[in-house]
Symmetry: C2
Subunit: 270 residues, 2 copies
Amino acid sequence: RGQIVVVGNQKGGSGKSTTTMHIIAALLSSGAKVASIDLDARQGTLSRYVENRQAFMQRKGVKLPMPTHRSIEPSTVASTDVARAHDQHAVERAVQDLAMRHDYVVIDTPGTDNFLSRVGHSFADTLITPLNDSFVDLDVLATIDPETYAMTRPSKYAEMIFQVKMQKARRDRSNRTFEWIVMRNRTGQLDSRNQRAMDEALEKLSQRIGFKLVPGFSERVIFRELFLDGLTLLDLKTKGTDVKMSMSHLAARQEVRDLMSEIGLESAAT
Amino acid sequence: RGQIVVVGNQKGGSGKSTTTMHIIAALLSSGAKVASIDLDARQGTLSRYVENRQAFMQRKGVKLPMPTHRSIEPSTVASTDVARAHDQHAVERAVQDLAMRHDYVVIDTPGTDNFLSRVGHSFADTLITPLNDSFVDLDVLATIDPETYAMTRPSKYAEMIFQVKMQKARRDRSNRTFEWIVMRNRTGQLDSRNQRAMDEALEKLSQRIGFKLVPGFSERVIFRELFLDGLTLLDLKTKGTDVKMSMSHLAARQEVRDLMSEIGLESAAT
Ligand SMILES: Nc1ncnc2c1ncn2[C@@H]1O[C@H](COP(=O)(O)OP(=O)(O)OP(=O)(O)O)[C@@H](O)[C@H]1O
Ligand SMILES: Nc1ncnc2c1ncn2[C@@H]1O[C@H](COP(=O)(O)OP(=O)(O)OP(=O)(O)O)[C@@H](O)[C@H]1O
Ligand SMILES: [Mg+2]
Ligand SMILES: [Mg+2]
């Protein structure tokens, strides 16, 4: 059965889709069989990325490894109970079907709280939460004391994770839960007072609410520059995708490789 | 009647709440009477900012100008028609009531498409759409040709704006619509191929779908560093809020001042 990786955060724009694309590309470039599910079908950034990748291959006549992609919309049935049953069933069927035939299933979720996203989270073996290096993003995880940087109470997303873990334990009748990893994203190259304050707050928070903190990605144009072609920096070694590798590209590649080993997705991402 | 400024973009994390906070602070520091409405009550970044500001004043014993703040949740009534009538009425009443007693009403909206947000957009005199300097963000506005950077079709948010403009014209029985301003946010300090490509795509797009493009804000830590205290760089001249003004602060202050004059909110933001 393939490993299920969910990328989630109720905070908008934290880097969920960007992280999902790079994990998929890194796994593909190591030769793994990968499936992807877009649970944010309304906005559909991940689905658009896969479409752009398909169009690039046709336009340039090159062959790139592709994920098996599915996009799931929330049910629009008027009755909430029936809609939820539809959502639960749609995700369950897709995950089980894809996990049987692939090494990894990577799931992108929306920047809001909805039932479909909660169902997706409940199937995670690994949950990855990207976070901008900002107390604005942190606020959706926990309310922080402005003087001590300690948590005063968990916020909406942390509450959701507690609830999803309990739901998963009940459904699977086991204590096996998922590993929760918080990765910093779009961190500045220069050290700042804000970055040190975030360091301190995140260290304290990871003890209190139980997640593993990893360095993640710096703010680098290469993480977003290739979206229109459906490429990531992991694809640049393929013939026909010629883009000159700069120092920043090499550093970005190292950050992706480090992320993959931190989350136990050993990949030969070269 | 006060001028109504709506900050909107269905793309998550584009900088809506950050922009809203800075517009409110700039208007307050010019002595204007300002009201604020949070239509993203579930995540509540703007409401948390106002709470943090209140707590800072109590903790430090300083007096800061404050907006009259309201937060409106979407109606949870099961029937969609009744819920929409509630949402319409709640926003209409709040806007009319606040606009009578204030010079400006500034409204923050969520990073998704929901009925409450559409109602908020329909009351705009000025709509401001912050956008990350990325084709990922641009994709929610329009699908762009990867070779020519021209629009191939409008996307979800542009479609929504067309619909809201029509709805507003019908409701107000007039052709008076709102000015739509797109501001670039978190732009890099270094010139890059990506930035030039975004320049070209945005220039073309502003002609095609009809918005005014303004430079907006660079990526600067000062735009997010003071969130826990509910402050912005506009507040730093007030006694008791001592933070040493750096070159970046002065440049950020200029960017806020430029934004205010681009959107016709002349303010004495000093
Ligand atoms: N490490 C990075 N370096 C540079 N830009 C980045 C990085 N990570 C994300 N971005 C950019 O930041 C913006 C937000 O990222 P993204 O869309 O992946 O976030 P998201 O959490 O999926 O957003 P949403 O909540 O809308 O689904 C995009 O414009 C993206 O290109
Ligand atoms: N100009 C800027 N410089 C530095 N950081 C910024 C800037 N603008 C926004 N940010 C940071 O980027 C992140 C996203 O900004 P913000 O939360 O204001 O966006 P939003 O559009 O309101 O998001 P949501 O869709 O979740 O409501 C936050 O962490 C914020 O602190
Ligand atoms: Mg996304
Ligand atoms: Mg916001």
